[in-house]
């Protein structure tokens, strides 16, 4: 109905005219104004009621129309006009406030790119995102949006990936790195190649998942839906009964109007929509109301170590040098040799050198890669051998006692040790470690404070490393050297003991355990496809703060839903009692009813803005730190 707002306004004016005429003693004018108001306001309501009836759906509009006809019949014109007006006005307010609870999804949608610069036949042109094809080259300038998923061909720029990860701190990306649709190029310039377009991009998938999650109803919401289907016709029957008993048409009609299940039906879903929307905005995908409900009840956290508690990316934690060798000199030689290797431990040494701006030389001679042992080469007239103890033995290099002691000490601390020999003697050790995430400890503490009873780590890694991580993070228990099947059995055992279990993994080798747990959580960079599909909960920004946010958000959402349901039930009960005792009349009944609908929506709206208080403080601090860095550089 296009003119609904005008009709609402007109009926309001007519009611005012009617009241004024009535006060002036013009009885006939008053009645004409009020009846006209009733009739025009009834048109849109009646049409909706009729359409639903044709579909054999019992609608609230039908109840209102029956009540209005009844009120006209008993010549309660004031009542009939006020009821229709309030119903229309209430629907208008509902739409406005509903829009707000749905706004987080709309914000996401607004971030969707519309067009992009594409190179075709050697010329760049602006095309709609729907027309971009896989394999095409895109140009992105400052302020431009990334329209597809793909890889950077050339250039470097900083990107705001908030649409994908919920993180608003820009990240710098260069050649060969992945870009996601929906990211915003902050400053810089890149050319990229399109790999996933249209509906296949991560961003489109996220939007679709959020849309579907908002529809996926919780048990409470599903129950209320069914309830409304029985309740609405039930109200009609009851009001007929009321009429038969009291013989008072007025009471029967009032009963009919105030018993409409409005707030009750909308109360639960509206909380879920707001909660899920809030999550999506912060890089947390909660797949539906059911998941929200279960997540709020979780009391046991189970983590796979690698990639969740630790970064999953080994780094050089420290370097020891011997026989007067300088640290940077050693790194220069070793990294140059390792740059020819594809081994992941070798790569961490190269990365460390790049981090320290140390030059890497490509002019290697006599390069030899020994699988499972290491690498050797000649550089700057020096013989360099990098690898494990076996490689040293193979080259008849004696490991001095002080070096061996250092190496053992490093291994006890959970490091993998790489030996570097220059001209026949070990002159350096590299300690490489998969670092614990910086935010893991504080986040786990917060999770405990919010209601988690035990935190357990499962890992395929060795006992030694597992123990160190467990100790450092003060976990309740850990189990090492497990196969994927063992993890699954363990999760099942925990569930049988009556725990509500959340299992967090990187989404690939832990998939069975993730699927078995009450809540499966996938953590990973930019949401891999597997993670998006198998898990109940996905952290797109790959950080722990999002987990604490998700957990407390779930609790807040369920609390909000309960408040709404109890409030709605309470209001209806009070109203019905009021009507039966003759204390509440038609117009005020309608008013209270509409007000209760608006109130539950407004209550749910609080969830859109929901943030953990201490989190806000922390992120503000982070922002300050960032500003400091910017200023000082």
């Amino acid at each position: 109905m296009k003119y609904k707002n005008q009709i609402t306004a007109l009926s309001f004016i007519l009611i005012l005219t009617g009241i004024l005429a009535g006060n002036a003693g013009m009885e006939a004018a008053r009645n004409i104004a009020l009846v006209t108001a009733t009739v025009i306001a009834s048109i849109p309501i009646g049409m909706k009621a009729f359409q639903s009836l044709r579909m054999k759906a019992f609608s609230i509009e039908l109840l209102v129309i029956i009540a209005v006809v009844g009120a006209l019949y008993i010549q309660e014109y004031m009542e009939s006009s006020v009821v229709t007006f309030l119903f229309l006005f209430g629907a208008y307010l509902e739409a406005r406030t509903l829009e707000k609870t749905r706004s987080s999804l709309k914000n996401l949608l607004d971030m969707a790119p519309q067009e992009a610069m594409v190179v075709r036949d050697g010329e760049s042109m602006l095309v709609s995102v729907d027309d971009i094809e896989e394999g095409e080259t895109l140009l992105i300038r400052s302020g431009g949006k990334v329209a597809v998923d793909g890889t950077i061909l050339s250039g470097e720029a900083s990107f705001n990936e908030a649409a994908i990860t919920g993180e608003s701190v820009p990240v710098t990306k260069g050649k060969g790195e992945k870009l996601f649709s929906g990211s915003l190029l902050d400053h810089g310039y890149v050319e990229m190649i399109a790999e996933k377009v249209g509906e296949d991009t991560t961003f489109s998938k996220i939007i679709e998942l959020v849309e579907e999650a908002q529809e996926a109803k919780s048990k409470a919401a599903r129950f209320l839906d069914k309830f409304a289907q029985i309740y609405t016709p039930g109200v009609v029957v009851l009001s007929v009964l009321v009429y038969l008993i009291t013989r008072n048409l007025h009471i029967a009609i009032t009963f009919l109007v105030v018993a409409c299940p409005g707030a009750l039906v909308i109360g639960a879903p509206v909380s879920n929509v707001a909660g899920i929307g809030n999550g999506a905005k912060n890089g947390v995908l909660v797949k539906g109301g059911e998941v929200m409900d279960r997540l709020s009840k979780v009391d046991t956290l189970v983590f796979d170590k690698t990639g969740t508690l630790t970064k999953g990316k080994p780094e050089v934690s420290s370097i020891r040098t011997f026989l007067g060798m300088g640290e940077n000199e050693l790194l220069e030689l070793t990294a140059s040799v390792e740059s020819a290797s594809e081994h992941h431990l070798g790569q961490t040494i190269v990365k460390e050198a790049l981090k320290r701006n140390i030059q890497i030389h490509g002019d290697l001679e006599n390069l030899l890669v020994e699988k499972g042992r290491g690498i050797s080469a000649k550089l700057k007239e020096k013989n360099i051998i990098v690898g494990n103890r076996k490689l040293m033995a193979q080259h008849d290099i004696v490991i001095d006692r002080d070096v061996e002691e250092e190496a053992l000490r490093g291994e006890k601390q959970g490091n993998t040790v790489v030996f570097a020999a220059v001209d026949g003697r070990v002159r350096g050790l590299f300690f490489i470690k998969d670092q614990i995430r910086e935010d893991a400890f504080s986040s786990l503490k917060e999770l405990r404070a919010s209601g988690i009873r035990q935190i357990i780590m499962l890992t395929g890694d060795n006992r030694h490393t597992a123990e160190l991580v467990a100790k450092e993070l003060e976990l309740d228990a850990y189990h090492a050297e497990l196969l994927p099947k063992d993890k699954l059995d363990f999760v099942e055992k925990l569930k049988k003991e009556g725990n509500v279990v959340l299992m967090a993994g990187d989404g690939i080798n832990d998939a069975p355990a993730i699927a078995t747990a009450d809540i499966g959580l996938a953590m990973g960079d930019g949401g891999t496809d597997v993670a998006l599909e198998t898990a109940d909960l996905v952290l797109l920004g790959d950080n722990f703060r999002q987990l604490t946010h998700a957990y407390s958000l779930a609790k807040a959402t369920v609390r909000n839903m309960k408040q709404n349901i109890w409030f709605a039930v309470g209001v209806v009960a009070l109203l019905l009692a009021g009507v039966l005792f003759g204390r509440i009349h038609l117009a005020e009944g309608m008013f209270i009813h509409e007000a209760s609908v608006i109130l539950v929506i407004v209550n749910a709206m609080r969830l859109v803005k929901y943030r953990r208080k201490n989190l806000t403080v922390e992120s503000e601090k982070n922002m300050e730190n960032l500003m400091d860095i910017k200023v000082s550089s």
Partner: protein, 72 residues
Amino acid sequence: MKKLVMQLEQLTCPTCVKKIETVLEKTEGVETSTVLFNSSKVKISYNEEEVTPKELNRKIMNLGYDVLSMKE
């Protein structure tokens, strides 16, 4: 079998969902239809030989809902 997504005006009453779904499913050539209440979208999979997107659009307009955009 083709897929069609229509963006409708803001849906406010849960009963509209049932109304739109019933009408569409009764339409010749429509395989399945889902109304996403919160994002006010209709997803339809249909047989292009029996019904056109234009006809489906008209059906929904006749029910009293504005179709803002369509995507195949």
